[in-house]
Symmetry: C2
Subunit: 204 residues, 2 copies
């Protein structure tokens, strides 16, 4: 079967053009590597389409992904300077969502995560971005900080043409239900298993 061909023609009353412009929810989960890196790879495609990209990081410290952030922000600057590609925003929880309080202790993280989700809800309602990367967003749901059913409902009811990519282990079943694309990354072999340390450029 040629690349990109479908095996089924759906009886949904949509034209091919409409079907080619349908907003997607994608979930990258599992114990393997590549969940977030693949999400940021999708952001490259979106950037090249001229889309507004919004990245929202829900877990702290070792998982900051400085490399991807620097690179995507550099692409956002290319857009500002030359008009190529699209604008990029990058927001981090805890060390301070830029629209929320700065600092805060471990005990504030649940409130920060919920406020982050509320902001994403506002942006989805306003159709602020064309592509959202909700990085490690499965965890605040898993920990009960954000309601998974509510997230799924918001995603299912979002308007316009907004793509949403969610990464992290153990996604809430309602997220998998609402997802158009679900990919499980399975760890087959990993250097941490044999005692290798995480390293620059590979792990972050």
């Amino acid at each position: 079967m040629p690349q990109g061909e479908t095996t089924v023609t759906p009886d949904d009353g949509l034209t091919t053009r409409q079907r080619r412009n349908r907003p997607v929810v994608a979930i990258h989960y599992g114990a393997g590597k590549g969940k977030s890196t693949a999400a940021f790879g999708l952001a490259l495609r979106g950037w090249n389409q001229g889309w507004s990209i919004g990245v929202f990081q829900f877990v702290k410290s070792a998982k900051w992904k400085i490399g991807e952030q620097e690179a995507l922000m550099a692409l956002g600057e290319v857009h500002e300077r030359t008009g190529r590609g699209g604008p990029v925003e990058w927001h981090k929880m805890g060390s301070g969502w830029s629209w929320s309080r700065k600092g805060g202790t471990e005990a504030d993280h649940a409130a920060d995560a919920l406020e982050g989700w509320r902001e994403i809800q506002r942006r989805l309602a306003a159709e602020t971005h064309r592509m959202y990367v909700l990085d490690e967003f499965t965890y605040p749901i898993k920990w009960g900080w954000v309601d998974g059913e509510e997230v799924a409902r918001t995603l299912a009811e979002r308007r316009g043409n907004q793509h949403v990519i969610i990464t992290g282990r153990d996604p809430h079943p309602a997220l998998l239900e609402v997802a158009d694309i679900a990919t499980e990354m399975t760890k087959v072999k990993h250097p941490f298993d044999t005692g290798q340390k995480g390293q620059r450029g590979i792990e972050w």
Copy 2:
């Protein structure tokens, strides 16, 4: 276990610093999405480290990944203009490796693939890049155009600190053997299954 911690301390006589700078072969395989996108996500990290990135695409047409190419080349231009990040090269098989013949028919692809691999061997020997993305490289091996055992041997014997990321389905067993990181991307849910068309910004 904190992020990035190991469960084993290896008896390999290396210091932590040495273990943090060990060259890696990573394979992204399986029927799921995200194999190549995760590889390009790693390239973002490498770029931010100031590394020379070489991308080599082994399969044509629908798989060109224009979005990633435009974005990574834009990052290469940021490097040239400002010194931030690292340089980026992007080479495609068939439509003409830039060091090989242009054009060519279907029958030339095997020779093109082999010549592409020979060029990669030369670059590995010369330590030209710090990170290589060999995109869809499992296929010319699977099709017998390039010898998988030879590839594994070349990778095992490469010098210096060169990371190599290989993507594609059905990797040769010798590649999995030589890999430090192997991740299988499993398709759990995909819109093509329900007749949705591939779309800009998501599929390419």
